[in-house]
């Protein structure tokens, strides 16, 4: 079975092999090291001319990639830790993301930035965050987050080869070592791909429900590594508490298309959003906002499970207390139904 890391690594190899316009830039990505998390392993050996290790200049690297994208290349940038997307905020928000619109649709900026996010490794306050929230909703960029379902590499490959706008690709660090699950392999869950996508949205949304379970009374919406935690919580809630859940998994975070969530809540009337970032103004805020705008009093209850609104401590026990875990999800779900 392939891990998420292998799937992403393979996608990068395929992208470089299949399109000469693809370049990969990042800090310490040369072999034998192959990048801090090894997602870029082998690239510099196979494609030495198009794998560029860079100085430690996050803003500069991303700006260089933007310039390359303006002239017909398809650069992929790795930001070593997602915590440092703060350093590219200006290049993303006031440059790459704006160009297509402000230059009157005369050009586009096909640049992909891959960023490892997330905690649970004890790296402490500046190396553990889930920070995509600062870019969620910014006009002009797409934000994707693979999970262990189906084909994370395919999602990345499509973004690199076919998306003409800037893409922020969120990779949870814990997810790297998880096996990729095909829909067929899953014994516990029936997994369907939501068909309520926009034409331009290539990133799938999934519905997971326990096979042969009664109709669900709660919708859980989530993405990324939290999908794994939610699956376990859903199983436990079903078997121990007879609470049945429709688990909706998104792989495109922004622009928001929460139709799959709305459709589910329309039936369950209860919505729990689970994410790893700090709670306030995270992804879940917009999900809840759009849900109540769409559904009004059809929503009986709504809640979020997320990190506490503090920095992420280095110490294991403190970190665990701050980050959301399976038990937090179970407790939140039980309170709702």
């Amino acid at each position: 079975m392939q891990t998420v890391l292998e799937s992403l690594n393979q996608a990068l190899h395929t992208a470089l092999a299949s399109d000469e316009r693809v370049y990969v830039l990042g800090e310490d990505i040369l072999d034998p090291y192959g990048g801090a998390f090894k997602v870029t392993r082998g690239l510099s050996t196979a494609f030495p001319d198009r794998t560029m290790t860079t100085p430690i200049s996050e803003a500069g690297i991303f700006g260089v990639a933007t310039g390359m994208a303006l002239r017909g290349l398809r650069p992929v940038v790795e930001i070593m830790f997602g915590d440092f997307i703060t350093l590219i905020a200006d290049q993303v928000i006031n440059h790459a993301a704006k160009f297509r619109y402000m230059y009157n649709e005369q050009l586009s900026v096909p640049v992909v930035m891959r960023v490892p996010m997330g905690g649970r490794r004890g790296y402490g306050p500046t190396h553990s965050q889930t920070l995509e929230k600062i870019f969620l909703g910014i006009p002009g960029i797409r934000i994707l987050a693979p999970c262990s379902l189906k084909d994370p590499g395919k999602l990345l490959l499509h973004a690199i080869l076919h998306d003409d706008d800037p893409v922020l690709f969120i990779e949870n660090k814990i997810l790297y070592s998880r096996p990729v699950l095909s829909h067929e392999e899953d014994n516990d869950f029936k997994i369907t791909t939501s068909d309520s996508q926009n034409q331009s949205d290539y990133a799938p949304a999934f519905h997971l429900s326990i096979r042969e379970a009664p109709s669900p009374s709660l919708t859980i919406a989530t993405y990324g590594y939290m999908v794994d935690l939610c699956r376990q919580a859903v199983l436990q809630l079903a078997y121990e508490d007879e609470i049945f859940i429709d688990l909706v998994v998104l792989t495109q975070l922004s622009p928001f298309n929460i139709e799959p969530i709305i459709n589910s809540v329309h039936r369950t009337h209860h919505l729990l959003v689970v994410e790893e970032g700090t709670c306030t103004l995270g992804w879940g805020a917009e999900v809840l906002a759009r849900s109540v705008e769409n559904l009004g009093k059809e929503i009986y209850k709504a809640a979020r499970v997320a990190s506490l609104d503090v920095a992420i401590p280095a110490s294991g026990p403190l970190e665990s207390a701050v980050l959301p875990d399976i038990d937090d999800i179970i407790q939140a779900a039980k309170k709702m139904v």
Binding site: Y23, M52, T54, P55, S57, A59, G60, I61, F62, G63, V64, A65, T66, G67, M68, A69, L70, R71, G72, L73, P75, D90, Q91, N94, H95, F99, Y101, M102, Y103, N104, Q106, L107
Partner: protein
Amino acid sequence: MSNNSKSDSDQISKVELADLYRSMLRIRRFEETVLGEFSRGYFFGTTHTYIGQEANAVGVLRNIAPEDIVVSNHRSHGHFLAYGGDMRALFAELMGKSTGVCGGRGGSQHLYWKNFYSNGVLGGTSPIGTGIALAEKFNQRDTVTITFLGDGALGEGVVYESLNMASLWSAPVLFVLENNHIAQTTPAELNLAGSIVNRFNAFGIDSEALDTSDVLVIQSSAVRAISEVRKKSSPQALILNTYRFGPHSKGDDTRQEKEILELRKTRDPISILAERLDPDQINPIEEEVDDEVKQAFQKAESDPIPN
């Protein structure tokens, strides 16, 4: 540092001198019209005019190859017109018309046309110019990218990230540093420690510094620099000491009027070049340019607003 040199102009044909003069005068009259008409409500937002610095854009861009690329900043009108941008489209852009360079979306500081890009965030364009230059290099094109920066933009850290990468990766980019000795209202000595030349050299980028408003001198240095960047496929810098005669944007000049009068007397690129032209060459150009500017303004004015 070079200085005005008569010998250069001896080689240059009357036609070329007239063209240079026309180029600079187009910018001058365009900017005067912008400043003059602003208070009448024709334009949206604000504007940064290029009056006094015309020799830089014209001298640098006069001889570039058609594929060469320009990355400009907030003070972009002069660069745009010298690059060959359409005057009516620029007026229309400032007026927010659908015929504007970017259909009115960008406005004065945010232009894109052919190989010309500008943005209003100081310094932020420098890595982009470097990336553009690299892409051209990777694609085996012998394009030169010209990135304009002001003295004030040297405050931004991303500029140094860009110098480092341009140098490390031999990006064929010419950094043109227009040091007009002021950033908005702040004199360079309150903004910049050390030396501008050394800042480029410290990153392994050779530079030449000029202190002139003579377009011929600038032109000849620029031709040399651009051809070296092209030949060596590596970065260089051209530091142009220059003076802004107008306000930073509109009515925000905190300098002494005396100071500016003195500058206009000694450092006006248009008067300096005028001395090299036959007196009877000048009038027709003046008329031609006045007419062009007037027509461009009127056409833009009657262009439709976007919806």
